[in-house]
Assembly symmetry: C2
């Protein structure tokens, strides 16, 4: 779901991509993105492609042929990163963890020592294929101690849980617009630290991609040069500016709290229906609730029924989790109490129709208790 | 300018990128694009990036390390193609022509013989930096005779002059949405022949770009597989469908005739003001009118005045043409008699204000004569 103000912005008449009014809009987007990423990085932009283009831009620019990069692989997007490192001529050193688990910092530390020199450590903050939340707080210092860059995929996390680029010592971080920022897909918010830009500017050979060459793109977004590179996707940038304004009108801390309480309520309801979270406590994403299914459920049938009768789309399992989990998004504008309760109601009804033992209203009640408790806490200032 | 129906389409609520309703929309876009490119190519899609992403996708997928590719260089975009060929590990063989001129077919023929084997011949159909229209009709047969692929940049031409992919034997052709298709920038219409797809499927090593890997993208657009690759830019595709429907409601032949008559009228008016077309007769693009300027004009000042007082944006000269030409776009929805007359009126006024000898109304009259003549022809069925 996208806020009506964003839809309205998308449909505004066009400006030229070098028109002074449009350039001012680009500056505003940069400032809003810096506030969202919690960074002072000058190079903070919206790339002209989806989140995967952001991933490729960061890897293709920072990983040169022969570079070793440690990459956490515990789901679809870690695997994709390893593939991109290979395609850029780098050597991915995969640290694997079971799908749903996270990468232990001890494993990163050991590998940094064993494989030195390492050009970069690459981690997925919010693994959309498993719902796992990767701790990042202490990785930046570790990377600096080993003279490695720290690269983070924040496609699904940005705007829903804290992403502290500067505090956590992240050198390059990219996201997508269609997750917790609630803008249509098509742009990749991206920020690179001065240390990261220094590496890019000092490359021996240009990166394979001209379209995603960040040194050229930087010269277009830089207000002092504005060198033409490619034609910016004007309408999408209108939409993103409005989406980011909405994020900051709400405020990041309340927005993050909203994601957490809706996830807690959803999970409380789902557990009464026999669905359990896949990731362990403390490593669960609020915007991507990945739950394992009880035996005897025709999961594909239930999802089709939800989509056709209720207009609710759940994600199925990917890779080794196919048929075993659901991935329930509660992102940005879609992360609302009404959606949580509607889904729980629908599932109770469908499960009862499949002859499963049911206590009508129990799931909704469990969720409502979470909301009541949370409202109480808020009133008490807790 | 974009038609209000396209703006309205951009602002429609979102569907999921694997939703059956959205997949049907993708099929419709493919059919409309095939009709626009005049091709039966199954692989005819809208790539998730601007026209430059289309350029990079074609080069990165078709040019493998060590491949030689002949590229016509007579402006900004031919140079960019040569750069991309190099970045893909290929060897560009540049055939240069002065800016504003076209690449002679004899030069291509000689080079194909001299440099054999050649993997591809790459030409820009409509060179936006010079207004030159490259003849393509006989190049495809020549390429086949030398077992080379034929690659065409149709960013500015598609929808404004004929682009006959199958008849002309083109193996890969890409465009942009924001030129004569009158959709906002952000997508690259792209078509690849079965011969071209065969080359891509038989690559020894995958192309450097994962995001632009056409073998993976083909599996998402293929209605039988729909394998997830990246999240499609939903809103932009809504807009493109509507823009393509408008193209075919008007019909390509009337649309092409409209571009020609407006360009003829504009040129007739400009010549009375002392502005002459840069390209030679027979090689002038109707949607991008590149004219050399009379002496004594402060061209940057005139352009600023036009933008600020009249809301008209003219392109300045690029590279060696900086300060020497104007590039006047008459593309898609913006290609209208009212725009031609408004611009000519404004220029007459500004030139008179600069103390240049003027015969008030002469430029507009010259343009109107073209329209009258053309209406007459149309009434006579000519």
């Amino acid at each position: 779901m996208v806020h009506p103000r964003v839809l309205q912005a998308l449909g505004q008449p066009l400006l030229g991509h070098l028109d002074p009014v449009f350039l001012a809009l680009m500056n505003e987007i940069q400032a809003l993105l810096r506030a969202t990423f919690h960074t002072e990085n000058e190079f903070t932009i919206a790339l002209s492609g989806t989140g995967s283009a952001g991933m490729e831009a960061v890897i293709a620019n920072l990983i040169e042929p022969g570079d070793r990069a440690i990459v956490g692989v515990n789901g679809v997007f870690g695997s994709r990163l390893a593939t991109m490192i290979e395609r850029s001529g780098g050597i991915p050193i995969r640290i694997e963890a079971p799908w749903g688990a996270t990468i232990p910092i001890e494993a990163l530390e050991q590998e940094l020592a064993r494989s030195a020199p390492v050009k970069a450590v690459v981690l997925v903050h919010a693994e959309t294929s498993t719902g796992a939340r990767q701790p990042l707080e202490d990785v930046g210092a570790l990377c600096r101690a080993h003279d490695a860059l720290f690269i983070v995929d924040a496609v699904t996390s940005l705007g829903g849980i804290p992403v502290e680029v500067d505090t956590w010592g992240i050198d390059a971080c990219y996201s997508g617009t269609q997750k917790c920022l609630s803008c249509p897909p098509g742009l990749a918010p991206l920020t690179v630290s001065p240390r990261g830009m220094g590496v890019i500017r000092k490359r021996q050979v240009p990166c394979h991609s001209w379209y995603l060459d960040l040194s050229l793109i930087a010269d277009y977004w830089n207000d002092h040069s504005r060198a033409y590179h490619h034609t910016a996707p004007i309408s999408m940038l209108y939409g993103l500016r409005e989406a980011l304004r909405l994020v900051h009108e709400e405020g990041l801390p309340p927005r993050i709290a909203r994601h957490q309480v809706n996830s807690d309520a959803l999970m409380a309801g789902l557990q009464t229906l026999g669905l359990s979270p896949l990731p362990s406590p403390g490593h669960r994403l609020p915007m991507l609730n990945c739950v394992t299914l009880p035996d005897g459920i025709d999961e594909a049938m239930v999802r089709t029924h939800l989509l056709q009768q209720y207009g609710i789309e759940l994600g199925g399992g990917l890779g080794p989790l196919r048929g075993r989990v659901w991935r329930i998004g509660l992102m940005g504008e879609s992360c609302r109490q009404a959606h949580v309760l509607t889904l729980l109601n629908a599932l109770e009804e469908i499960f009862a129709g499949q002859g499963r033992p049911a206590q009508p209203g129990r799931a909704v009640k469990a969720a409502e208790e979470v909301y009541t408790h949370s409202l109480g806490s808020a009133r008490r200032g807790a």
